[in-house]
């Protein structure tokens, strides 16, 4: 996004950093056949494009938006995707959903904010973050269709360039899906261009594969030991090799649960489900006993459940290789049951009548793989022998289904023995987003951890020094979300709620999930570092109001916590004396709070606090300091560090922050959190005033889409001296404050400020009336305050009014042009006796700031 595009310039794709839109996404652009790659020129071409892909700016938000839209496309246009099976489709649709990918990202790499390089407080000048590995080659298995595509998506969301060696099983599906995805991407910003490649190279063409793997930073390999070894041999010694190998899982039944028939039913389900082809399907049932009699008894009882369960699902005769493998094992086992003095002394084979299942009972503890297809070993294994028995198999262990009344002890032993995943029978093959696979988190494997130790002043995070690339869905609703509609938003996903207004009885709330909250506070924390808070030197007291669902104190507690700042969470406490003594006693130098509270505190304990003389910085929020207050702080307290703590709202969270170069209401947008549109107010003399419209990118609690925040501002064009490229704007007031009279926009706040500067600091109401000769602007003031103001000057009421008018016309150029030059607007000042005489809101009873009577 550049300086222009956030001004609703959505079609201006050419402005996007380093992306050329309109790329060709024909299959030739990402699919390289072996024949093609055997040509050294094409291999070089692939390498060039891979390199170009690594320099493509990566924006996770864009990718999430794109994938979410792709998920919707798969869902709504499923007839265009007949090449996928219905089951695959469901998996793809779910996997690609923004919500699910976010959860995965949160769990596997800690959250979206970890894509930023961010200061780690506690060590000086120390920054940490993650970066993509760079180029990732994927070698995927032929046993799980669709897995290749999911693996690629994992590579994409971690910002990598991905090269997939397509396999015979799902190659077609994946190539077509990638084509569709790239086509969609191309309709937007084309960020995935040169990030996804398919190579169709036979595994025997080792020389070619070697060269392609050499281009990669890592090879992510799925498959059995033989396949893994054959690829490993092709890699240079330092190449990162991520192996997702074949695994074995089992069930462990504790001695107290040999009668647990519900568990038997579930174990039977696991042995039938998917013909045990998942690595998490059990191949052995271990019983915590060394009495083979008990084992045989258990097997007998288990057989009736296995039989029932097997009847429920049709047994499809496997292929000859699989069949003979399982028969080999069963036949030999049956023969072994004849060894020994009598039949069944050490082994028993229990089979289904139609040979649809096999239970291999054996008086051996070793872990033994089953030939699958409804074949399970039942063996004794006393808990104390578990570590020794599993010791040799640790490379292969995966899930254990546990049945025990004393599960925690058993689980602890299993973990110690090398099992990575523990669950109950019946849930062994279920997985959830963000769950570790074979003890590893995929996304975490696909990134590098970066550390930077470099002195950088007022830099909490690197993110705002780079442009974001927004998805800007052209099909998205343009509808503006109003405050009233916001109240009606679905809040059901919320976990933390803050009061967002609403005066009568039930408060309206703004809903955040914890991840929304944590993430937004993180960016706000980056903001106060940019504003000049120094964790090493400053000590803060948090004087914002708290309680009553109010977000101020609590969120600043979190913000300060994020950067490990020294903080005293006081709140806007009524006991000012206690507050002042705390500041003095603990040598606090930085105040966070509302201007009115801070001024009250300083004035009440001026003597003591002046004597202390340690207050150096004030971060304010909620309102502004006026000229007098600023003067007081500067002249009496010698404080000239006054910075906005954050620009934000309860509804939309933190929106902006002031870096050290931001004065007079100027803020940088938290552009990783929000997209921002400035919609110009219709204005003949091109004032540059705009309504601020916010779309929050990854919030799950409340959906903030095209939300009219109710503020008015102007864009600040050009680079900021701090080096950050996040868009800047100057806040100029509330939307209701801006009104149009005599063809020109005027700002209530500006008039208020002018009056305030001449010491009128009481009620101001502006009434606009229209008559035949044009609009009349009436400023309604409180009579007694005005009289008091001019008491010493010995002036008549008319003279006073005339004086005020002159000041206004002198200070407010647009007003002077309309009133004096163009003479299309009348200006009047009306003094009323009491506040009751002002026009009030029917609902809240508050005095209205602007009343339009035309």
């Amino acid at each position: 996004m550049n300086n222009k595009s956030y001004k609703n310039d959505k079609n201006d794709k050419n402005n996007v950093n380093s992306i050329d839109a309109g790329v060709d996404v024909g299959i030739d652009s990402f699919y390289f056949s072996e024949q093609k790659l055997n040509n050294p020129k094409m291999l070089q071409e692939l390498q060039n494009r891979v390199i170009s892909g690594t320099t493509n700016r990566f924006d996770i938000e864009y990718v999430l938006d794109l994938l979410d839209l792709f998920s919707k496309q798969l869902e709504t246009k499923s007839h265009d995707y007949q090449f996928c099976s219905a089951d695959e489709m469901i998996v793809f649709i779910q996997f690609l959903k923004r919500e699910n990918l976010l959860k995965k990202i949160d769990r596997e790499i800690g959250g979206l904010e970890y894509f930023d390089i961010r200061k780690i407080f506690g060590d000086k000048d120390f920054y940490q973050g993650i970066a993509p590995l760079g180029v990732l080659s994927h070698v995927t298995p032929t046993n799980a269709t669709g897995l290749s595509f999911l693996a690629l998506i994992e590579g994409v969301v971690t910002g990598n360039v991905n090269i997939l060696r397509v396999n015979s099983k799902d190659g077609d599906v994946v190539v077509r899906l990638i084509g569709e995805l790239l086509k969609l991407d191309c309709q937007y910003k084309g960020m995935l261009k040169n990030k996804l490649f398919c190579i169709d190279v036979d595994s025997r063409n080792q020389n070619l594969l070697k060269q392609i793997f050499f281009m990669s930073d890592a090879v992510s390999m799925w498959g059995g030991d033989v396949a893994v070894n054959s690829v490993r041999e092709l890699l240079p010694p330092q190449k990162k090799f991520i192996v997702w190998g074949h695994k074995i899982s089992f069930v462990y039944v504790d001695f107290d649960s040999f009668d647990n028939e519900d568990a038997m039913k579930n174990i039977a389900y696991e042995c039938v489900n998917g013909e045990q082809s998942a690595c998490s399907s059990p191949q052995v049932i271990y019983l915590n006993t060394n009495d083979f009699g008990q084992v045989k008894q258990y097997a007998k009882k288990f057989q009736s459940y296995f039989s029932q369960e097997s009847k429920r699902m049709k047994f499809d005769r496997p292929g000859n290789s699989e069949l003979s493998e399982l028969s080999n094992v069963a036949i030999v086992h049956d023969l072994e049951s004849c060894l020994g003095a009598t039949i069944g002394d050490n082994a028993v084979l229990l089979e289904g009548e139609s040979k649809d299942y096999r239970i291999l009972v054996e008086n051996e503890m070793n872990l033994k793989a089953s030939p699958l297809f409804r074949t399970v070993w039942i063996r004794p294994l006393p808990l104390e022998h578990l570590p020794a028995v599993l010791f040799d198999f640790r490379d292969y262990l995966q899930s254990a289904g546990v049945v025990s009344s004393n599960a925690i002890q058993v689980i602890d032993r299993l973990i110690a023995a090398g099992v990575t995943r523990i669950t109950v029978p019946g849930k062994m093959t279920d997985s959830f987003s963000g769950e570790a696979h074979d003890g590893k988190l995929a996304l975490n494997q696909f990134i590098r951890h970066i550390s930077v130790r470099y002195p950088l002043k007022n830099v909490g995070a690197f993110n705002d020094f780079f442009k974001t690339i927004s998805f800007e869905n052209t099909n998205a609703s343009e509808k503006i979300l109003s405050k009233d509609q916001f109240k009606k938003n679905d809040k059901s996903k919320g976990e933390v709620f803050f009061k967002s207004g609403g005066s009568s009885g039930v408060p309206a709330v703004s809903a955040f999930t914890y991840r929304d909250y944590e993430r937004e506070m993180q960016y706000a924390a980056d903001g106060i570092i940019a504003a000049g808070f120094s964790v090493e030197e400053d000590s803060a007291i948090n004087l914002f109001f708290g309680g009553g669902l109010y977000g101020g104190m609590i969120s600043f507690f979190t913000i300060l916590e994020k950067i490990k700042a020294k903080q005293y969470p006081m709140g806007a406490h009524d006991d000012l004396q206690m507050v002042a003594s705390t500041i003095i006693q603990f040598k606090i130098n930085t105040l966070f709070g509302m201007p009115s509270y801070i001024i009250k505190l300083l004035k009440n304990y001026e003597k003591e606090l002046l004597a202390y003389g340690g207050i150096k910085k004030i971060f304010f929020g909620g309102e502004h300091f006026n000229k007098d207050q600023k003067k007081y702080l500067k002249e009496i307290f010698k404080i000239d560090f006054l910075r906005s703590a954050s620009y934000g709202s309860v509804d939309a969270g933190p929106l902006g922050y002031s870096c050290e170069y931001c004065n007079d209401g100027v803020h940088h947008l938290h552009h990783r959190l929000h997209d921002f549109k400035m919609i110009p107010l219709l204005d003949e003399n091109n004032s540059g005033l705009c309504k601020l419209i916010i779309t929050t990118k990854s919030r799950l609690g409340d959906q903030i889409v095209n939300y009219d925040i109710g503020d008015v501002g102007e864009a600040i064009v050009g680079p900021c001296q701090c080096g950050r490229v996040s868009p800047r704007f100057r806040l100029l007031g509330r939307t209701g404050d801006i009104f149009r009279a005599g063809g020109t926009f005027f700002n209530y706040m500006k008039i208020e400020r002018i009056l305030s500067d001449c010491n009128y600091k009481d009620v101001l109401q502006i009434v606009i009336e229209g008559n035949t000769s044009g609009d009349i602007l009436k400023l309604i003031l409180l009579k007694q305050t005005v009289v008091k103001l001019f008491a010493k000057k010995n002036k008549s009421m008319n003279e006073i009014i005339l004086d005020l008018k002159m000041i206004l016309l002198n200070e407010y150029a647009d007003l002077s042009v309309a009133v004096e030059d163009e003479k299309i607007l009348g200006l009047d000042i009306v003094l009323l006796e009491s506040e009751q005489c002002f026009v009030s809101s029917a609902s809240s009873g508050k005095i209205l700031r602007v009343v339009d009577k035309r």
Binding site: P141, T142, N143, A144, W222, G224, D225, V226, S230, G245, H246, K247, I248, S249, Q276, S277, A278, C279, S281, Q283, R317, G319, N320, S321, E322, L323, S324, E325, L326, S327, N328, V329, I331, V332, D334, L335, E336, S337, C338, L339, G340, A341, T342, I343, K355, K368, A369, S370, P371, L372, D392, F393, D395, Y396
Partner: protein, 401 residues
């Protein structure tokens, strides 16, 4: 144990089964001279021989372990159930893999004449024990087949290229034994071992030495006999082609008789006809002098290709093809387990062996070579699935243990 005495002594001596056990029908059947002609009363002879040998094992089973008795009880089988050839399928079979794990003997240890180990490719090896009768009768069958095909000539000399392990002291490998034994049909001029013994139990494939020998053999113009593993023979021919060795023309009476694994790297099978074509091109050996043999230590009856390269079942054994799941006899033309039945072996109850091979049985007349006995075709190994799940397979686990 007498396993080291495998050389000269065995070859010319003959012994009779009656010396040991008095199994007259077994002896009569196994000594039938014509490999592919069933004499009058053949079926009765075969059934009686089977009954005799099974009773022998049952009796001996009691001495050593209860295994065989238990097995018969477990399968509700009694030798009384054997009345005609069609009853052979009722005999409880033993899977060849079982012999890889367990030693089951029907003789006292002092009667073990030869102890062979199968040349297993992955891990476990069969331990098979022969008494003198069992191994000699099997060898006699080979003699008879060689005779039948006219491959015996005591009045000439031949050069031998053996694709087998050069013997070391005390070798138990079955293939080495077999191939040495095959040198008796034409007197030896020279022998070249392709798998040279390097000491410390190590053998190396001496591919260049082999090529040199072949060149030498061409010059000497004596019949060449090449026996052993097809894979190494294949690698030799491939290498010759790679090195652009000019095609040789070996003596017209040369004979290639292969046996053992047909695998090259990564479990990829060598196509038999490709190998024959290569051998024909590069060594000048005619197609009908290129033969493969099928046999194993678990079942030693020789199955030797006819001139049409089919394995006909000789009179000394029967073949049943069984369904891979139900294990029922499925007759002709369908793929299943290969079940060999023969009364020849008295040292172990390996008279009905379910092989780890997938095969199809065909009616003899379909071959067209003139032999009317049924023949079988090997179509693959049992349980050699390319693991299609993400669960670890037993063979994978084995490989790394």
């Amino acid at each position: 144990m007498a396993e080291a005495n495998i050389d000269k002594g065995v070859q010319n001596k003959w012994c009779q089964i009656g010396d040991y056990y008095g199994l007259k029908s077994v002896e009569n059947l196994c000594l039938l001279k014509a490999p592919y002609d069933r004499p009058a009363g053949y079926s009765g002879l075969f059934i009686n021989a089977m009954k005799e040998v099974l009773e022998h094992h049952l009796k001996m089973s009691n001495n050593n372990s209860n295994f065989y008795k238990n097995l018969f009880n477990h399968k509700n089988f009694s030798t009384k159930d054997l009345k005609e050839i069609g009853d052979l399928e009722k005999i409880p079979f033993i899977h060849a893999n079982f012999f890889k794990k367990h030693e089951i003997l029907s003789i006292n240890k002092e009667k073990v004449f030869l102890h062979l180990t199968s040349s297993g490719t992955t891990g476990q090896k069969s331990q098979v024990f022969f008494d003198e009768w069992s191994i000699r009768s099997a060898q006699k069958m080979v003699d008879n087949i060689f005779e039948y095909y006219g491959w015996v000539n005591e009045n000439s000399f031949a050069n031998y290229l053996l694709y087998t392990y050069e013997p070391e002291e005390g070798s138990k490998l079955g293939t080495a034994y077999t191939d040495n034994f095959l040198c008796k049909y034409v007197p030896v001029n020279k022998v070249k071992y392709a798998l040279k013994y390097y000491g410390s139990n190590k053998h190396h494939f001496d591919i260049f030495g082999v090529i040199e020998s072949l060149k030498q053999f061409e010059k000497e113009n004596l019949p060449v006999r090449i026996f052993g593993f097809p894979s190494f023979f294949y690698f030799t021919l491939e290498k010759m082609r790679e090195l652009n060795v000019a095609p040789l023309k070996l003596h017209n009476d040369s004979l290639v008789f292969l046996g053992g694994g047909w695998k090259k790297h990564q479990n990829e099978a060598i196509e038999k006809k490709d190998l024959y074509k290569l051998a024909n091109e590069l060594l000048g050996i005619p197609d009908e002098r290129l033969r493969d043999g099928f046999g194993s230590v678990e079942h030693c009856i020789p199955y030797i290709e006819c001139r049409n390269h089919n394995f006909h079942v000789p009179v000394w054994s029967h073949v049943i093809i069984r369904d891979l799941l139900t294990l029922e006899n499925i007759g002709y033309d369908r793929i299943g387990y290969l079940n060999f039945i023969s009364p020849y072996i008295t040292s172990m109850p390996a008279n009905s062996v379910l092989m780890g091979d997938l095969a199809v049985l065909h009616k003899g007349e379909r071959c067209g070579c003139g032999i009317m006995q049924d023949y079988f075709q090997i179509v693959g190994r049992a349980g050699k699935s390319a693991n299609k799940s993400c669960a670890i397979s037993a063979s994978e686990m084995l490989r790394n243990m």
